[in-house]
Symmetry: C2
């Protein structure tokens, strides 16, 4: 199989972790006989510095010409004070729109080897296996108006939560499809007791559910979901929600198992290419020190192999390697614990490659 | 001191827990020589059934004529399918607007006697003492338009996040005032990298901070806050945020210490009366069984004594009684644990009264 992959390292540790993931992809290519070619594009603060925009058109073009996109991370204090439309995260929001990445998938997996790192009790998180599906191109993120004005001499401000029904349908449908191949349960999160958009969301979920008789649908209010996520995360299989609620809940979910540096994500469009990135940020404080955890990015590559290329065996090979390396006691600094072998970013990558 | 208190028991266990709290207020009145008079009003599902509206005008009038309001809880499956404008929680939203309750205060306190009940590890929650200050009358909750329509033949929906700058100022100012008498730190939560309203919020926080040089202000993005709340709740002192973010984060905060049945809240207006209520819901599944935990409502009464009546000593007497009763091993079912004495709602109330 031949595939073109766009690599957008971005800022901070983005370069280091994507470099590691590319090496893992190459190792997979060699072992399974695939040809992966890599092209590099700029995004985020580095792009602002060099080209005056957080998402240059040529990066968009590169992505559209590729079969999949791997992103490192964007942002850093260096760009905190520049005008809003130039901020690194604008690049992220723009690429989502440009590629129509309407759904963000974030698995939260329990790693028994990392249980100590979790703030939660072991019995609460043991065997947690939840998948957050977040709507990614609608809601408060892109609704207009989003502006200040004066009304009767008073300063006021408005943001707009806007959705097309069709945008709800496609992401909820995706959640059901995913649940079908997992635990068979969808928790749809909304605030139907307050928001009209949530009442529509709930109706759409009911409609979609009719086509998936073997999947159980449950509705949960967002405030309750924020509670239940901490109280009993095991109750969840697939959780689907709108953009802003998803932003909050998926970050909450990501710390449950104590393995933030381990969590991958995929952003899906109708026609492809899909975009993959680790959950974690650009961590400018540890940039260039060769101590960042590359596993989230490596596991993002496993998602790429599975979801973009249909290479299930190859995906499992990557996931198995990561597990083996952890079981062998190798740890980057963020997940280090007494008695384990502390390794650098590049050493961790070598270990993973060696077990592939 | 003479005070008129409006009691709105509401639905489900609301009646049982407010009854207990009234008895505790009476006990305080006797011991400290105050005269509390109680008048009862309807709100929620019961009000819908009897009077066709979740907040009858006479309840509003009663509240406005009182020095403070104590609310039990509203809602239940019985009213889940009725038209939105009649739902029990509409009564809650309406009373907030009618009394202009612009700030909701929710302390989350660590009880060493209840540490086992927390989903978090003891070292993570030990000595947590955080106060959520949630804006309660603005944002997505009341913004217009909130409606469906068709655009180019497509079904669409819009909700509106609207704020007056002045609404931000007063609640943020309150947070600073509260922090001054606590840990001296305010964490202002927003989504300034996406929302214009959050950028205004951040500016207002900076402005207000100038008048409180002894208080430290920190800004945190809401997704990060949802993480940090689980990861390291001890870092927080006072957290202030807009209505919807506050709804989500305060519910998240409320499960950290495992003592949801223990958590009180106060809703503040500029001129009073203030409204007090437990965090927990109406729990229709255990209604009438005399097993509900009355302590959250009793602790809400302690907040009333402190914030509405300036009776600090009396407030502390209530809080001390609750602590003593817990230390003596008394537990309602929700916080029961092996080796402790399981008591009913009324028995728990008797224990608290006995130690006052
Ligand atoms: C950087 C920010 C705009 C972004 C978001 O809110 O979507 C981030 O938090 C994320 O979740 O990818
Ligand atoms: C019942 C509901 C409308 C309400 C809210 O969202 O404000 C509740 O969740 C709360 O926090 O008091």
């Amino acid at each position: 199989m031949k595939k073109r992959i766009a690599i957008l390292p971005g800022d901070g540790i983005g370069k280091e972790v994507t470099r590691g993931a590319v090496e893992v992809l190459q190792a997979i290519g060699e072992r399974f006989g695939h040809q992966f070619s890599f092209s590099y594009g700029k995004i985020g603060g580095g792009a602002v510095d060099e080209m005056g925009t957080p998402l240059p058109d040529e990066t968009t073009r590169l992505c559209k010409d590729s079969d999949a996109v791997l992103l490192g991370a964007v942002g850093g204090p260096k760009w905190d004070q520049i005008p809003v439309h130039l901020r690194p995260e604008r690049g992220l929001l723009k690429i989502r729109k440009e590629l129509d990445l309407y759904a963000n998938l974030r698995p939260t997996l329990y790693y028994s080897s990392l249980a100590d790192a979790s703030p939660l009790k072991k019995e609460v998180i043991e065997d947690v296996d939840l998948l957050m599906v977040r709507e990614l191109t609608g809601g408060l993120y892109f609704g207009k108006p989003s502006e200040r004005s004066t009304q009767d001499g008073r300063d006021v401000v408005v943001d707009t939560l806007f959705y097309q029904k069709e945008e709800m349908t496609r992401v909820i449908k995706l959640a059901f499809e995913l649940a079908q191949n997992r635990g068979g349960k969808v928790t749809s999160v909304d605030k139907a007791n307050v928001l009209e958009s949530s009442r529509m969301w709930r109706e759409v979920a009911e409609e979609v559910a009719k086509d998936f008789p073997e999947v159980t649908l449950e509705h949960m209010l967002v405030d309750n979901a924020a509670m239940q996520m901490v109280r009993n995360p095991k109750q969840f299989d697939v959780v689907v929600t709108e953009n802003m609620f998803g932003d909050i809940l998926s970050d909450e979910a990501s710390v449950l198992t104590g393995s933030l540096g381990m969590l991958p994500s995929a952003s899906i469009s109708e026609k492809g290419p899909y975009l993959y990135e680790p959950i974690h940020g650009s961590a400018p404080d540890i940039e260039g020190q060769n101590i960042a955890n590359p596993l989230a990015t490596i596991l993002s590559v496993a998602m790429m192999l599975r979801l973009s290329f249909g290479l299930e065996e190859e995906a499992q090979a990557v996931e198995a390697s990561v597990n083996e390396v952890l079981n062998n006691g190798f740890r980057t600094k963020d997940i280090a614990s007494p008695g384990k072998k502390l390794v650098s970013t590049t050493e961790m990558v070598e270990e993973v490659k060696a077990t592939i």
